[in-house]
């Protein structure tokens, strides 16, 4: 084997190793970050749910801030499902269908973000329950199709 050939093979080998390991980190990193973003969504929802359950009084400012937190985290999360992040070293419940029905997944994510944006404009207690219902069905529509059940 010539020296040139040896070098070429070595370069290819290194390239493969680098690609594989970076793919793994991309997956792991994306999973970690999107789980964090979804936790942010959940925190916003829990604040709104406390109002819906009448554990907390209706407060337009709190509603605006929580809905903003939901919208921002959903926008962020939308970009955290790159190709190849269906698995990694962190646990994920993302179903492979996300990457085969990508357009639909993105559409549901966007509808839910829009529902959160609409909630930001809610200033009256009467408009609050239906607006929350829309965010809830948004979460549900996506989780139903694209998230695995967990114990």
């Amino acid at each position: 084997m010539t020296r040139l050939k040896q070098c070429t093979l070595a370069v290819i080998a290194v390239a493969i190793v680098v690609t594989i390991s970076s793919a793994a980190t991309t997956g792991t990193e994306a999973i970690k970050q999107r789980r964090k973003a979804m936790d942010g969504v959940k925190n916003g929802i829990m604040t709104l749910a406390a109002i819906a359950k009448k554990e907390q009084p209706f407060d337009a400012e709190v509603v605006h801030a929580s809905a903003g937190q939901i919208a921002a985290n959903l926008e962020h999360a939308g970009g955290l499902f790159p190709e190849g992040s269906d698995q990694g070293e962190a646990q994920t419940w993302a179903k492979p269908e996300i990457w085969t029905d990508r357009a639909h997944f993105d559409e549901l994510m966007e509808n839910t973000r829009q529902a959160a944006v609409d909630m930001q404009a809610v200033t009256e207690a009467e408009a609050f329950p239906p607006a929350l219902g829309k965010i809830g069905s948004g979460c549900k529509s996506c989780h139903d199709l694209y998230r695995l059940p967990k114990n």
């Binding site: 929802i45 709104l48 809830g136 549900k140 059940p149 967990k150 114990n151």
Partner: protein, 303 residues
């Protein structure tokens, strides 16, 4: 006369044995309509609607995978499992393609014994092992509700699977082992509310069809009732356990779980929407709060 050769004699014996085994199998696996008479009952379609929602009939019998849980149960949506794809069928009272020409007795037979009016076994993707626990009057109320729907023409489709006829015979054999003919019995030690919850969960609600793990013969393992396990539709991920929901900090009390069943994700209960639970929760949301509280009380008592 030439003596019959040994080989021929063996062949004859084997043929007779095979015919006997086949006869026994055909008899054992046959689907026979029941001749049980139903007691007279003044059926109430409104109560039937409640049972329709508890059972979540629409979740499987919807028109298409994307259809909501409020449309007519025309049953074209595919029900995909690892062994076959089923098309659940039309529950509207259309005379040719739905249940319009059925009798109440045939409906009860289908629901409780998994036998069709034309004498075939239904595949247990249709959860008749659970519906078998339903009281006759409830089945008749449900029947009255289904008969009150607008008839829709929808011819239905045979399941996508190899040799469905033979598979139906195998179901006949499976039913002999798997079907428990004893009906749900209330526990006199427990409250009326608890018993109401237990009945709704175990009979029309058929929660155990997914939440109770199955053994190698695909029979629910009642020693591990509601312990969760692999998803019966072959989905990855796990069906959650319903045991010790309080101890495992899933729900704090009856009110908490009632909120979860009523509002699901809207109130931040995000576990109620994967693996098919989204539709189920939306069906349950239509129930009176008392029934949801009864279901919650029963579920939280499971240890």
């Amino acid at each position: 006369m030439k003596p019959i050769s040994r080989a021929k004699r063996i062949a004859a014996v084997l043929a007779i044995a095979a015919a006997a085994v086949a006869t026994v199998l055909i008899v054992l696996t046959a689907a026979r309509p029941s001749d049980r008479a139903l007691a007279a009952h003044d059926a109430d379609p409104a109560r039937g609607k409640l049972l329709y929602d508890v059972g979540g009939c629409i979740s499987c019998h919807k028109a298409s995978a994307g259809a909501g849980v409020t449309g007519p149960p025309t049953g074209e949506a595919a029900f995909v499992t690892p062994v076959a794809t089923f098309y659940p069928g039309n529950l509207t009272p259309d005379r040719e393609t739905g249940l319009g020409s059925w009798t109440a007795e045939q409906f009860v037979d289908a629901m409780t014994r998994g036998v069709s009016p034309d004498g075939r076994h239904y595949f247990p993707a249709f959860p008749y092992p659970s519906y078998g626990n339903m009281r006759d009057e409830d089945l008749l109320d449900l029947w009255a509700y289904l008969q009150s729907l607008e008839p829709v023409k929808s011819p239905g489709r045979a399941p996508d699977m190899p040799m469905p006829g033979l598979a139906r015979r195998a179901v006949g054999l499976w039913k002999r082992i798997a079907l428990d003919e004893t009906k749900f019995r209330p526990d006199p030690e427990r409250s009326e509310v608890w018993n109401r919850g237990a009945y709704l969960v175990n009979a029309p609600g058929h929660c155990g069809e997914c939440h109770t793990p199955r053994n190698a013969l695909m029979i629910p393992d009642q020693s591990r009732a509601f312990a969760g396990g692999p998803h019966p539709r072959g989905d990855k991920g796990e069906v959650p356990s319903l045991l010790d929901l309080e101890g495992r900090k899933r729900y704090t009390d009856v009110s908490d779980l009632t909120f979860a069943l009523q509002y699901g994700e809207t109130f931040g209960y995000d576990k109620l929407s994967s693996g098919g639970m989204a539709d189920i929760q939306m069906n349950l949301a239509k129930l009176p709060e008392d029934d949801l509280r009864a279901i919650s009380e029963y579920l939280l008592s499971l240890e």
